[in-house]
Amino acid sequence: MSPSAEFLQYRGDGTTRAGRRATSPPGEDSVYLASPDLVHAVNAALVLEQPLLVTGEAGTGKTALAASIAAELELGEVEVFAVRSDHHGRELLYEFDNLGRFYDAQVQDPRARDRSNYLHLGPLGRAFDAPTCQVVLVDEIDKAPRDFPNDVLHALDRMELDIPELNKKVPARHRPIVVITSNEESQLPDAFLRRCVFHFIEAPDRAQLARILDERLRGIQLVAGLGERILDRFLELRSVEGLLKKPAVSELLTWVRVLNGAGITEDQLTGRLGDLPYLGTLLKTRPDFGRLRPDQA
């Protein structure tokens, strides 16, 4: 399925509409490879002009997806808003520095006369004001207070920047492409979920992992057979029951880089899972270590 001509189309294969390589993040020499289901979900969000809510295990590429969309669709840099638990929805649009203005007024700074000098646009506000369509990443929305998601949707519905401090309303020039990530640590409001296009990024299978390794580790020449062994051991490790944090793609990439740098051979990857070299790049919690190395627990 693909969107009709008047809508942008995301391909998920790391190429732009002109056929160039869409490296993400910019500056790196690798591209983001999306699964077909993820591609369809992104395209659904594009044609429906709805935010795309992406969930999945940590390290499966939720955040990198926004950069991939921006790179493939040639929409410039991503406006990132990393959510904290004390954020409010308005901060996604703008912040008004009342305190700065008060200070400037105290010091007789002429800038204080113009209140617009103290307006700082947030990521969504900048996207509204941008001359072209922008990608806005709202990262880890599950950390935000409960009202935050609905504030985001409210702003997107109105498609305008309402600044009561300046007593003006600025209509959005373009509807931004909003990518929202969540680790599902808290339940999001139903109304918010209904108005988002949802996608859960599954852990990639072996073939997809091989493709990702080929793409992301272009500069690394692995010894023949080592890559296969690494994938075997990695998938074996993921299949261990009871791990609190299963290693994901990002951990795999790090592990491969470390193994390559340390000159680990294929033979050194045999034996128990607990004896794998540089296991710390894959496992991040002490209970997980204890599970694989009961003698050291």
Binding site: M1, P36, H40, V47
Partner: protein
């Protein structure tokens, strides 16, 4: 109907919060997207409708249920001769296996029933030239034969075959699954490849030769009637008659009167855009466009079957019909619909929104199906006049809306000349089977070209399967139609390099392969396309090709398509690997194996020897007296209580033998005997001796001495008792046989029967019946496996070699010569069996070697007492001195007929009593020992072996 409303309603039933927002979202999604493959639509719908991963799965599963592969019917149904054999034949195969099993089971039952029941052979009737009483006077008839064998299911073979069958089925199902998975993956990859081709994905046919749906004159007339037509009066046209009249009336003062300007009517159109209306889109659009082009102001609203909600265009603002009525009540209303939304509910009640149509004073309904017999009966209840969408119907509706009386001289009839007949339907289906796609306009073009007199309403039936062309009477040659379609396709090439172009090439090639002059070109094109992203569609299309010359190509294309597709998908290595069978495959294999065992196992039978045991004694009383002859039956212990009484070869009745049993009034001149199967395995036959009840005045003896029936199917020599002296006996030569004792011989000179002698074998002890293992020589002799109960064996004169086996495992060989009338008697030598003993072998894990302990065998009283000191103090290396009283003792194997009665376990001694149902039959290869295992509660144990015969 809203788009995908069935999917959304099912999802709502399954708990998803589907509301108006979701309906509109899905509608918007479908409006803005072009569908290329269902997988993409499935993923996009899941992303739009779901809120978590569980709901994603639910949406995908529901989508598969509703729009899965089994509901795909994009292509027209091919005629029967083009149909591919169905791929999934496992259901049919399972049915066949079940049917075969049922038949085999019933046949096997019958077969086994015939085998198990003793086969009584009817005695030959007496020759007609002989007097009937001659038989009774000259001697007894032949004894009825008994089947030597019975057939027993060979469970080992049956299970082996069933396991092999299950394995084959597993492999077959697994291979099928692998092929299905591989093809599925390949198809997805083909779709992806196809998706990567430039747009457009489908090509449009230019049907320039299609006749207009309505003649221009009809549209002109309708438009004029509706108030705005090119021929309508212009505002500056003079009304000459009125002008003259006014001028005259005004005293010749010039008065100018213009023609009255017709007031334009804004026609409100309610256009149904439900699925049923899709085939009629062209004439409806032609009508509306024609009216609009002629100046008729149209206010068009759409609805999906149910007009309670109408909208300008899908996805746009919707209003209720009631609200529309309040806004546009002054306009005449034209409804164009098949009335799909008229019936509601299961009872087919008239929809409530119909009542809202009455708000319009002037209203008309146009039905696109021109044959009124296809109209819904609910249309009769609508208070609106309905006309078919024919030229005459349009004009009539225009007259009605403009409140102008119709001219009776109109040249257009409202309904077509004739209704749709079954032949039209068949022809339409046939046309559809030839067309490259299910396009209503294309079918209409074919109809106009090849069957112009056929009513267009026949298109309604195109959803059904196409019949065979030869049933359709005179039809145009398919080549002509294929040529027409190929030319039509060739005239409208899409943009080169696009996916539509590939599909266009495929459709064109599929038409050309049916045209003899272009066949080679079409085949080459098909082969070329089979190497591209359309390989899946080529495979499907090639599967429908038929004809001898196309068979090879079809196979080649299919093979190449699969190979190329799979090679492109890098599946070559994967598809051949066996996967672990899933639950379905295991269940199917197990079920088939079970069915096989149930149905066919009875055919895998082995003949088993029938063992005859004499457990009844039949005695004739008062044979020579005047009164009735009485038969007295004596039943030995453990013999079956119920036995069948036979006279000659026919079963008389079943007897319950309690105590001394007599049979009164036995008829003379007949053989009598009893038999009964012992146990459930039907291999032991408890039988009586057979007795001959002499006819009155007959010359023969009443009873045959010692006549247990040997199991032979051949007629045996007729027993002719004689009062003559016994003949000379022959000496025995074996070491184990005592030499022949002189017994009185009897003469058979006066007997009319063939010559014979008798042989008596005595066992040791004498009550213990020996087994005649082998006898060779003579004629008509049984071979082996005969239990001998000490009765005299009737043998024809000759030299015989005997091999006799006693229950105590002592073999005896003897040569004996039987003469006519002789009565030989051989006895197993006592001194050779003096060493009869049971051996007790004792072993422990440490292994101290065997030790033989004498025990007392006692078979004669049908009771065996094994007294074994299992753990004599200090003699063996068993840890610990004594067995506890709570030790457990087990025996293995227990020979058939030998049962453990009870065991008395004491320290240092175990006494067990066995119960013997009857004398134990001994056969070669049968276990002749019992392994006794005693286990102490503390885990120590001892194993002893007690032989049931003499020491080896």
């Amino acid at each position: 109907m809203l788009p995908l409303s069935d999917l959304l309603s099912v999802l709502r039933e399954r708990g998803l919060p589907i509301g108006v927002h979701e309906h509109l979202t899905v509608g918007r999604l479908l409006e803005r997207w072009q569908s290329v493959d269902s997988a993409g639509l499935r993923a996009a719908l899941a992303a739009v409708l779901a809120r978590n991963s569980a709901e994603v799965r639910l949406v995908r599963e529901t989508f598969d249920e509703l729009y899965g592969p089994r509901q795909k019917s994009v292509r027209p149904p091919p005629p029967a001769h083009l149909r591919r054999p169905p791929r999934r034949r496992w259901g049919r195969m399972a049915g066949l296996i079940l049917a075969f099993s049922l038949i085999a089971n019933s046949l096997a039952k019958e077969k086994l029933t015939q085998v198990v029941v003793p086969q009584t052979v009817t005695a030959k009737p007496a020759p007609k030239n002989e007097p009937p009483d001659l038989i009774g006077k000259t001697g007894p008839q032949e004894e009825p034969p008994i089947s030597e064998t019975f057939e027993q299911v060979n469970w080992k073979s049956a299970l082996e075959v069933a396991a092999g069958l299950a394995l084959l089925i597993l492999l077959w199902l697994n291979g099928t699954r692998l092929q299905r998975e591989a093809c599925g993956l390949a198809r997805r990859l083909w779709c992806r490849e196809l998706d990567s081709l430039p747009r457009p994905y489908a090509y449009e046919l230019t049907l320039g030769r299609l006749a207009p749906a309505f003649p221009a004159a009809v549209l002109d007339l309708a438009a004029r009637l509706l108030g705005r037509a090119p021929a309508a009066a212009r505002p500056d046209d003079l009304n000459i008659d009125r002008s003259l009249e006014r001028t005259l009336h005004a005293g010749l003062a010039p008065q100018i009167v213009f023609q009255e300007r017709s007031s334009p009517l804004e026609l409100l159109v309610l256009q149904d855009i439900s699925g049923e209306m899709r085939p009629w889109r062209r004439p409806v659009n032609a009508l509306l466009a024609g009216l609009s082009a002629r100046g008729v102001r149209l206010d068009i609203w759409h609805y999906h079957a149910d007009a309670s909600i109408v909208f300008r265009s899908p996805g746009r603002h919707a209003v209720s019909l009631e609200r529309l009525a309040s806004l546009r009540v002054g306009s005449p209303l034209l409804v164009i619909s098949t009335g799909e939304g008229l019936p509601t509910g299961r009872e087919g009640r008239l929809a409530s929104w119909i009542a809202n149509l009455n708000a319009w004073q002037s209203r008309a309904w146009l039905h696109p199906v021109t044959d009124a017999s296809y109209w819904r009966p609910q249309l009769r209840q609508v208070a609106t006049k309905v006309w078919p969408l024919t030229p005459g119907g349009v004009i009539a509706a225009a007259h009605h809306l403009a409140a102008v009386k119709a001219s009776p001289r109109t040249q257009y009839s409202v309904f077509p000349d004739r209704p749709v007949v079954p032949l039209d339907v068949d022809r339409m289906r046939w046309l559809l089977s030839l067309a490259p796609r299910r396009d209503p306009d294309l079918i209409e073009l074919l109809r106009q070209k090849f069957f112009p007199r056929m009513p267009p309403a026949a298109l309604l039936e195109t959803l059904e399967a196409a019949p065979l062309p030869d049933q359709l009477g005179s039809l145009p040659q398919p080549v002509e139609i294929h040529t027409f379609l190929a030319d039509l396709l060739a005239a409208t090439p899409p943009e080169s390099g696009s996916a539509a172009h590939e599909r266009w090439l495929l459709d064109r090639a599929l038409q050309e392969v049916h045209i003899p002059s272009r066949r080679d070109e079409g085949l080459d094109r098909l082969q070329t396309l089979a190497s591209g992203p359309l390989v899946g569609e080529v495979e499907t299309a090639a599967g429908r090709l038929s004809g001898k010359r196309l068979q090879k190509l079809r196979k080649a294309i299919y093979k190449r398509a699969v190979e190329d597709g799979l090679a492109a998908a890098t599946l070559k290595g994967r598809r051949r690997r066996l996967r672990w069978p899933d639950r379905f495959e295991l269940s199917a294999a197990f079920l088939c194996a079970l069915l096989f065992v149930w149905g066919f196992s009875r055919w895998l039978v082995d003949p088993q020897a029938v063992e005859l045991i004499r457990l009844y004694n039949l005695e004739v009383i008062n044979q020579d007296g005047r009164g009735p002859v009485v038969l007295r039956v004596t039943r030995r212990p453990r013999a079956p209580v119920i036995a069948d009484l036979y006279r000659q070869n026919q079963k008389l009745k079943s007897l319950v033998l309690q105590g001394d049993f007599t049979i009164e009034r036995a008829s003379r001149g007949n053989w009598y005997y009893l038999w009964a199967w012992t146990g459930a395995d039907h291999h032991r036959l408890a039988a009586s001796n057979s007795v001959w009840v002499r006819a009155k005045g007959g010359q023969v003896e009443a009873a045959v001495p010692g006549g247990v029936m040997p199991p032979a199917t051949k007629p045996r020599p007729v027993d002719t008792p004689s009062k003559a002296e016994p003949g000379p006996t022959e000496p025995l030569s074996d070491r184990n046989l005592v030499g022949p004792a002189p017994v009185p011989s009897f003469s058979s000179a006066s007997s009319p029967m063939p010559p014979f002698g008798t042989l008596t074998i005595l066992g040791y002890p004498e009550d213990l019946p020996p087994q005649l293992l082998h006898i060779s020589g003579g004629l008509g002799m049984p071979s082996e496996g005969i239990l001998w109960n000490g009765e005299a064996l009737k043998l024809a004169p000759g030299d015989y070699l005997l091999v006799v086996h006693t229950p105590l495992r002592s073999l005896a060989l003897a040569e004996v010569t039987i003469q006519d009338g002789s009565a030989a008697r051989i006895k197993i030598a006592e001194e050779k069996i003096g060493a009869v003993r049971q051996s007790l072998v004792k072993s422990t894990p440490g292994g101290t070697g065997p030790r033989i302990t004498e025990v007392t065998p006692d078979f004669q009283i049908h009771m065996l007492t094994i007294g074994a000191r299992v753990a004599p103090k200090g003699n063996y290396s068993i840890q610990g001195d004594h067995f506890d009283a709570s030790a457990k003792v087990s025996f293995y194997p227990l020979p058939d007929g030998l049962y453990l009665d009870h065991c008395q376990i004491q320290p240092e001694e175990i006494q067990c009593e066995f119960f013997i149902e009857h004398p134990l039959p001994r056969q070669w290869g049968a276990p002749d020992f019992i392994e006794v295992k005693v286990v102490n509660p503390d885990g120590r144990y001892a194993v002893s072996t007690v032989y049931l015969g003499s020491s080896r």
